[in-house]
C-alpha cells in the first residue's frame, strides 16, 4: 500500500523512476482491462442471467448452460467444427513440412525466396477473399474444379452445396490459406539446424528417410507442436470462410461454433445463450493453450 502511495506522491528520484515506468505501461494496462478483462468477466456473469424481453435480466443459475448443452444445434456445430479441423490441421502441417523440407534443399537463396513467396501469397488475402475465390472454383456449373474433373471423365460434383462435400471443401480453403504461414515457421527452424548434423549421419550411412525421422523431425519437435496448436486454435475459431460462402448451409452441414455464437447473439439477440457459448469457447481454447505450455516446458532432447 505504501508503495502505491509513493507511486502517486514520489518522495525521491527512485520513486519518480517507478512512477515513470508505471505511467509508460498505464495506457496499455487500461486498454486491455477494458477491452478484454472486464468483458470476459461480464461474459461469465452474463452466462448465468436470462434477459427478458424489455431489458430486465434475472438470475437463472446454470439453466442456460443446461439449455445450450442439451441443444442438438449446439452439438451439431461442435461436431462440424471438430470434423473440419480434424481434416485441415493434419493436412496443413504435413504439407507445410514437406514444402519446407523441399524449399530448404534449394541452394540458390534467390530462387528459394521466389518459391517461398508463392507459398506465402495466399496469406496476404483476407479469409473472405480466399473463401470467395474458392467458391468460384467450386462452382457446380461453371467452376474450374468440375471442368478439371470432366476432363478425366468424372461427373460434376456439388462441392459447397453438398451435405457431405461441404466440410472437406472448406477444409481445403483453410489449408490453402495457412500453408505458407506454417511453411515459413518450419523453414526458419530448418535453417537454424547446423548442416553438420545431416552430414555426420550421412557418413554413418543413414538414408534420407532415417535422417528425416531421427534428426530433422526430433529437432523440429517444438515448432511442430507449436504449429499444431496454432492451427487447432485458428481452425476452431473458423467464421469468415463460412459466413461469406455457405452461411452454415446446406442444412447446417457447415454450421460452426463461432457461426452459431454470432447468429445467437446478433441475429436472434439471445445474449445469455451466446455468453454460454463464449465461455465454452474460452475454456476449450484455454485447455488447448495450457496443454501447449505443458508440452513446451519439457526440454527437447537432442
Amino acid at each position: 500500500m505504501r508503495a502505491w502511495i509513493r507511486l502517486i506522491l514520489p518522495a525521491n528520484y527512485m520513486d519518480r523512476q517507478r512512477r515513470a515506468g508505471f505511467l509508460f505501461v498505464l495506457p496499455a494496462v487500461l486498454f486491455f482491462s477494458s477491452v478484454f478483462l472486464v468483458p470476459l468477466i461480464q461474459s461469465v456473469i452474463g452466462s448465468f442471467y436470462r434477459t427478458r424481453p424489455g431489458g430486465a435480466s434475472e438470475f437463472v443459475g446454470v439453466r442456460l448452460y443446461e439449455k445450450v448443452f442439451t441443444d442438438s444445434t449446439f452439438w451439431t456445430s461442435v461436431v462440424n467444427t471438430v470434423s473440419l479441423l480434424s481434416m485441415s490441421v493434419p493436412t496443413t502441417v504435413i504439407l507445410a513440412m514437406a514444402a519446407a523440407l523441399g524449399l530448404n534443399r534449394i541452394q540458390s537463396l534467390k530462387w528459394r525466396n521466389v518459391w517461398a513467396a508463392m507459398y506465402f501469397l495466399p496469406f496476404s488475402a483476407s479469409l473472405v477473399a480466399a473463401a470467395l475465390i474458392w467458391q468460384w472454383i467450386y462452382d457446380p456449373v461453371y467452376g474450374f474444379l468440375n471442368y478439371l474433373l470432366s476432363a478425366v471423365g468424372i461427373p460434376p460434383q456439388k462441392w459447397l452445396q453438398s451435405l457431405t462435400q461441404v466440410r472437406p471443401s472448406i477444409a481445403v480453403v483453410n489449408v490453402w490459406v495457412r500453408l505458407g504461414f506454417d511453411t515459413m515457421i518450419f523453414l526458419a527452424a530448418l535453417q537454424s539446424i547446423p548442416g553438420e548434423y545431416w552430414e555426420a549421419a550421412a557418413i554413418d550411412g543413414a538414408g534420407a528417410w532415417q535422417r528425416l525421422r531421427h534428426i530433422t523431425l526430433p529437432l523440429l519437435n517444438p515448432q511442430i507442436i507449436m504449429v499444431c496448436i496454432l492451427e487447432l486454435i485458428f481452425n476452431f475459431k473458423i467464421f469468415d470462410q463460412v459466413y461469406s460462402t455457405t452461411q452454415g448451409g446446406p442444412a447446417s452441414a457447415s454450421q460452426t461454433v463461432i457461426m452459431l455464437l454470432y447468429d445467437t447473439a446478433f441475429k436472434y439477440f439471445r445474449m445469455g445463450d451466446a455468453s454460454v457459448m463464449a465461455v465454452f469457447v474460452f475454456l476449450t481454447l484455454l485447455v488447448v493453450t495450457l496443454l501447449q505450455w505443458r508440452i513446451f516446458r519439457k526440454p527437447v532432447e537432442y
Partner: protein, 283 residues
Amino acid sequence: MGRGGARGPTRAPLFRRVALLRVACGAISAFFPFFWMAVTSLKTAPEIQRVPLQVFPDSWANWQNYREVFTRHPFGRYLLNSALIASTAAVSSLVVSSLAGYGFAKFRFPGRDVFFFGIIGILMVPFQSVVVPLYGWVSRLGLLDTYLGIVAPDLVSVFGVFLMRQAIEVLPNDYIDAARIDGCSELQIFFRVVLPSVKPAMATLLIIKFMWNWNELFWPLIVVNSPSMRVVTMGLISFTNMYFIEYNLLTAAAVISVLPILLIFLTLQRWVVQAVVMSGLKG
C-alpha cells in the same frame, strides 16, 4: 530468410530435381487461385459462362469489371474505410505498445510483472469470448456504426507489447542513462533514444497490424449498420448478396482488395515473413 548456400546433406542431382519438382507443384497449386481470380476479373459475364470452360479471357485489356465494381457498390468508400481503420489501428498500437514495452523493459515498479503476465495472458482469451459485452459497451457509448467503434478493440495488440518489450530490453542501459545524465526527460529519452534504435521492430508491428485489420471481418460485421461504413471484407460479401453471383465483378473486387497487402508483401517480403514468423511465436 536467413543464410544462403547449401543446406542438408549432399544429394544426387536426380534426387534434387525430384525435390524441386515437388516444391514447384506445391507452389503452383498455391498460386493457382490467384491466377484464376485475375483471369476471371478480365472476363465478361457471357465469357465466364461459356461451355466448355475457357481459361484465358478474350481480351487482356478488359477493365470494364474494375470500373463496374465502383459503380455497383460504393467500393471506393469501403477501401477508404478499411485504409483509415487499419492505419489507425497500426499507428495507435505502435504508440501504446512501444510506451508499454519501454516501461516493462527498463523500469522497476510495484506490480510490473503482474501487469506484464496479465497482458500476455490475454493471448488466451479469444476475441469471440468477449464480443457480446464489448458490443454492449460500444452500443451504450453510442459508438455503433462509427469509425471509433470499429477500431476500438484493435487500438492495441498484445503481440505489439510483447514485441516492443523484447526489442527494447536488449538496448544497453548505459545508453539510456547517458541521456538521463544529459538532462533529457523520460519522454525525450523515449522519443530520441529508444524509438530510433528499435525501428525494425516498429516496422514489423506496423505491417502485421495493418494486414490483420485490413482483412478483418468479424467485429466490423457486428458494429456496422449503414452501407457507407462498410469495410472492404464486407464490401466483397455485398457482391454475393444476389441470386446469381457475378463472379467477374466479385473477382475484380477481390483483386482490388488483395492488391494493397500484396504490394506491401512483395516490396517488403523479408520484413513480412519475419513479422509473421514472430507473430506465430507469440503462441
